[in-house]
């Protein structure tokens, strides 16, 4: 099982804060997970944005990061704190 969190603009566009997804061996990277989400179509194509940021288990990473069953993944737009 994967837990996926969405923040800021994506949380609003998707109308979803988080969801759980059954683990699939094909989800080798966060990039593969993003592709699976984007093909849902409609508002989900928002996740195809070039400047999408992501985290695995609460640490910033890139789309090449490996995924494992039980991971906590987050997708969000560029950060704007400070």
């Amino acid at each position: 099982m994967l837990t996926i969190h969405y923040f800021a603009r994506y949380r609003e566009q998707l109308g979803l804060e988080h969801e759980q997804l059954a683990w699939q061996p094909a989800l080798t990277t966060i990039g593969a997970l993003r592709e699976l989400l984007v093909v849902r179509g409609g508002c989900w194509v928002e996740l195809a944005a070039n400047n999408l940021m992501c985290a695995r288990n609460q640490e910033l990473c890139n789309l090449n990061e490996s995924l494992s069953d039980g991971d906590d993944v987050a997708f969000f737009p560029p950060v704007t704190g400070g």
Partner: protein, 152 residues
């Protein structure tokens, strides 16, 4: 506690004054306070809502502190960042560092802010009384953070 994420107001002067004297050998304290502007890119701002990723935020700030300590000899590092609804002129963030000498303190404070702005999971949404919009990340913030990479 050196890293705090909270909704309540903080007193930057009080935080700054508390930094001196915590350790022997402090010769320099540098601090930065970021405030909500009442104007941003030619439109009025009535308030900001700051969203964050609880859990990751604290870890990201701790990692930034660890990296700063690996680069400069620092005594105290204090980071306070507010979340939730903030009004114009309200303080958003306090970063304070103490060191034996000024150069380390100046550089570490700038480094922490540059990394916080590009790596800590906070998002600002502006309200102008009628509409709301998410604040866009600035390329200048990315450039500011990139100047530290390649240095040791």
């Amino acid at each position: 506690m050196s890293i705090v994420v909270r909704g309540e107001l903080f007193d930057g002067g009080e935080l700054l004054n508390a930094m001196h004297g915590r350790h022997q050998g402090v010769g320099a304290v540098v601090s930065f306070v970021g405030y909500v502007r009442d104007y941003n890119e030619a439109h009025a701002v009535h308030g900001l809502f700051l969203e964050h990723y609880p859990g990751m935020t604290e870890k990201a700030l701790a990692a930034i502190e660890t990296e700063a300590r690996a680069r400069w000899p620092l005594f105290t590092v204090e980071i306070v960042h507010r979340v939730g609804l903030l009004l114009p002129s309200a303080p958003i963030v306090f970063v304070g560092v103490s060191s034996a000498h000024r150069q380390a303190a100046f550089e570490a404070c700038a480094f922490i802010m540059d990394y916080l702005k590009t790596r800590a999971p906070f998002w600002k949404k502006e309200h102008n009384g009628i509409t709301q919009q998410w604040v866009e990340a600035r390329a200048s913030d990315q450039h500011a953070a990139q100047r530290w990479s390649g240095e040791t």
